[in-house]
């Protein structure tokens, strides 16, 4: 055991405020929320007096909940796959720009995020809706007889969320690529690796931290997105967050709390999965 030195007191003092805040406003409520989720619903109180596991049992026995969880994961998987597939090449190009230009392009990437999600979601409604731009154009050209149902589908949600979330993964990967020591690529080339093999064997694995943090951002933002999902997904394409909202509106607070924990569990499992696959730690703090 080390004694209490001024340096330790000082670092403790620096850590204390965020630590106390986290305990008071995050961990505390979370424990309380869990406590709530273990009770029956009440029409007058936040939760009823009786202790029950029914709220969790409902999630695991009701095929409707199962369907929603499956749809949530499927949507998130599509978004993760597409954001990586589209985002990586974009990030690769951006990372190779000179610093001043790179900064400018990143700002441009962030520009759409300055428009409210609500406005953007309605933008998609205007494009994909029954009387939206696509349907009226195709109709006018005589290519379709009846409007296509483009909106209110998983695909529509994927497209809507992708346009919001792509900048996060692009910036995350571009930063990692831009800060990567070019000596690694040169070392690979000096050992006979051409551009493709240098990318596959060196650049790609070394960009794992950026890919992992980008995927995590996209995934967690997908799970918590509400406005876009509600407006583009409509009443029929619900995801987990929509169910939580519905439960709250129906005064089923304990059920909403239980669903919140299911969502949290999903987030933790997928996060662990992403980290296990990408293993960003293996390329950090090393090489020299």
């Amino acid at each position: 055991m080390r004694g209490v030195t001024p340096a330790r007191l000082w670092s403790l003092g620096l850590v204390a405020p965020p630590l106390v805040t986290a305990l008071l406003f995050f961990l505390g409520p979370l424990i309380y929320l869990f406590y709530v989720s273990l009770h029956e619903a009440s029409s007058t109180e936040l939760y009823g007096a009786r202790f029950t596991l029914a709220n969790y049992a409902a999630v695991f026995s009701d095929p409707f909940y199962f369907l929603i969880i499956k749809r949530t994961l499927a949507t998130a998987s599509w978004i993760l796959a597409l954001s990586l597939l589209i985002g990586y090449p974009v990030a690769y190009v951006i990372a190779r720009l000179p610093p001043a230009k790179r900064m400018l392009v990143m700002l441009l990437l962030l520009f759409p995020l300055m428009v409210s999600n609500v406005v953007r979601a309605y933008g998609w409604v205007a494009i994909l809706g029954r009387r939206g731009v696509i349907n009226t154009t195709l109709g006018d050209l005589g290519l379709i007889d009846a409007p296509l149902s483009l909106l209110y589908s998983t695909q529509a949600i994927v497209i809507g969320l992708l346009t919001i979330l792509l900048p996060y993964i692009v910036i995350s990967i571009a930063n990692t690529l831009a800060s990567m020591d070019t000596r690694y690529q040169e070392a690979a080339q000096s050992l006979g690796a051409g551009p493709v093999r240098t990318f596959v064997h060196v650049t790609l694995p070394l960009s794992a931290p950026g890919v992992a943090s980008g995927l995590l951002l996209v995934f967690l933002l997908t799970l918590s997105a509400y406005v876009t999902i509600t407006l583009i997904g409509g009443p029929r394409t619900k995801l987990l967050v929509s169910l939580i909202y519905d439960s709250v509106v129906g005064f089923q607070w304990p059920q909403a709390a239980a669903l919140a924990f299911v969502l949290l569990a999903l987030a933790l499992v997928v996060t662990a999965l992403i980290l296990a696959i990408m293993r960003p730690g293996r390329v950090q703090g090393s090489g020299r």
Binding site: D181, R183, Y184, E186, A187, A188, Q189, S190, L191, G192, A193, G194, R197, T198, H201, V202, P205, L206, A208, R282, V283, Q284, G285, S286, G287, R288
Partner: protein
């Protein structure tokens, strides 16, 4: 036009970055199985020269040859070389064995043969036991050895080393210099070694090229570079040197007779054609300190500095300010104090007449 010879040749190579000339018309044949050092201060063009050989930079003019094959427009990964970087650039996501095997894997060498070669290379640098570690788990010296093993395992035509020992502490660096030299001799590999450390260049090289402002100012074996510097820059860069101005009064055998402060001094004249006003360089350890009287040049001690193996005397003399090293094993080292009147001189041939006009 000159034809290329040996493992590496540069012919009329020039490299500019914008308006800056980094390498200016360098002609070079690097002798086979030798360590060739590019020595100079930062910004002299030594690293750019190395990168031109590697192909990481394209020459603005001139040609690069590896094993007499023109590679000027050949990309780095198709050139027959390997490189040890100053920062080692070990792949952090690969084990030591996979790092060392990387070049063989890229050359599509089979698994069994590759494993054998990797084991042998690791044995050469005495790291067999660490094959399964990751670079971050190694010390700086161990990482350096892995980088070396990774470079030699592919048996390149030329091994390029970009200040490979710069990140190590002094003791380890001196140990590695000897080890590197030994390894290079055993493998008979041609090596180009970039350094700004003159002692390192002298220790490790068969041939040293001293670079300055993009040109090679002098090229030769370490002893020649140190003892027969052609210019004031080379004399000064290779360690402390005293400069004395004089005038050539004639010749005596190999030496030029130079008159300085009314004295007749015999000096080595590498060009054999010195005339008129000249500048002479004399190494501090070549200057002999003595009591007043005799045929020495009179002066007065201004500083005495104890430096471990030698004592360094600063003397204000008739030829200007002079630095003199006296071995501490000799009683002379403690004979004189600050303020003492002394004389100094050097043997015939100890001083070198520097090239004129190249200050």
């Amino acid at each position: 036009m000159r034809s290329p010879q040996g493992d590496v040749s540069l012919i009329g190579v020039r490299k500019t970055f914008g308006t800056t000339v980094a390498v200016n018309n360098v002609d070079l044949d690097i002798p086979n199985a030798a360590v060739f050092s590019l020595l100079g201060p930062s910004g002299c063009g030594k690293t750019t020269t190395l990168r031109l050989i590697a192909g990481f930079e394209q020459p603005s003019a001139g040609d690069v040859f590896i094993r007499e094959k023109r590679v000027t427009n050949v990309p780095p990964y198709k050139r027959d070389f390997s490189m040890v970087f100053q920062s080692y650039a070990l792949f952090p996501h690969l084990t030591v064995a996979d790092n060392v095997g990387f070049g063989l894997r890229m050359r599509k060498v089979g698994r069994a043969e590759r494993d054998k070669a990797v084991r042998e290379a690791l044995a050469l640098v005495k790291l067999e036991a660490l094959a399964d570690r990751y670079p971050r788990q190694l010390s700086g010296g161990q990482q350096q050895r892995v980088a070396l093993a990774r470079a030699i395992v592919v048996k390149p035509a030329v091994l390029l080393l970009d200040e490979p020992l710069g990140a190590l502490d002094k003791l380890l660096r001196e140990e590695m210099q000897v080890e590197l030299r030994d390894l290079q001799r055993r493998l008979g590999i041609t090596a180009v070694f970039v350094t700004h450390d003159q002692e390192e260049a002298l220790t490790i090289s068969d041939v040293v090229a001293v670079m300055r402002n993009g040109v090679i100012e002098q090229l030769g074996p370490p002893r020649e570079i140190y003892e027969r510097p052609r210019t004031e820059f080379v004399a000064g860069f290779l360690g402390a040197s005293n400069f004395v101005d004089g005038e050539v009064a004639g010749r005596e055998g190999e030496n030029a007779v130079v008159m300085a402060s009314g004295r007749r001094l015999l000096q080595t004249d590498p060009s054999g054609a010195a005339s008129g006003k000249v500048r002479i360089a004399v190494r501090p350890e070549r200057v002999l300190l003595g009591a007043p009287g005799g045929d020495g040049i009179p002066g007065r001690v201004t500083h005495v500095i104890y430096r471990g193996s030698v004592t360094q005397f600063h003397v204000a003399g008739e030829t200007g300010s002079v630095i003199i090293y006296v071995q501490n094993s000799s009683p002379e080292a403690q004979r004189f104090k600050t303020g003492d009147a002394v004389t100094y001189r050097w043997e015939a041939g100890s001083g070198v007449v520097l090239a004129q006009g190249a200050a």
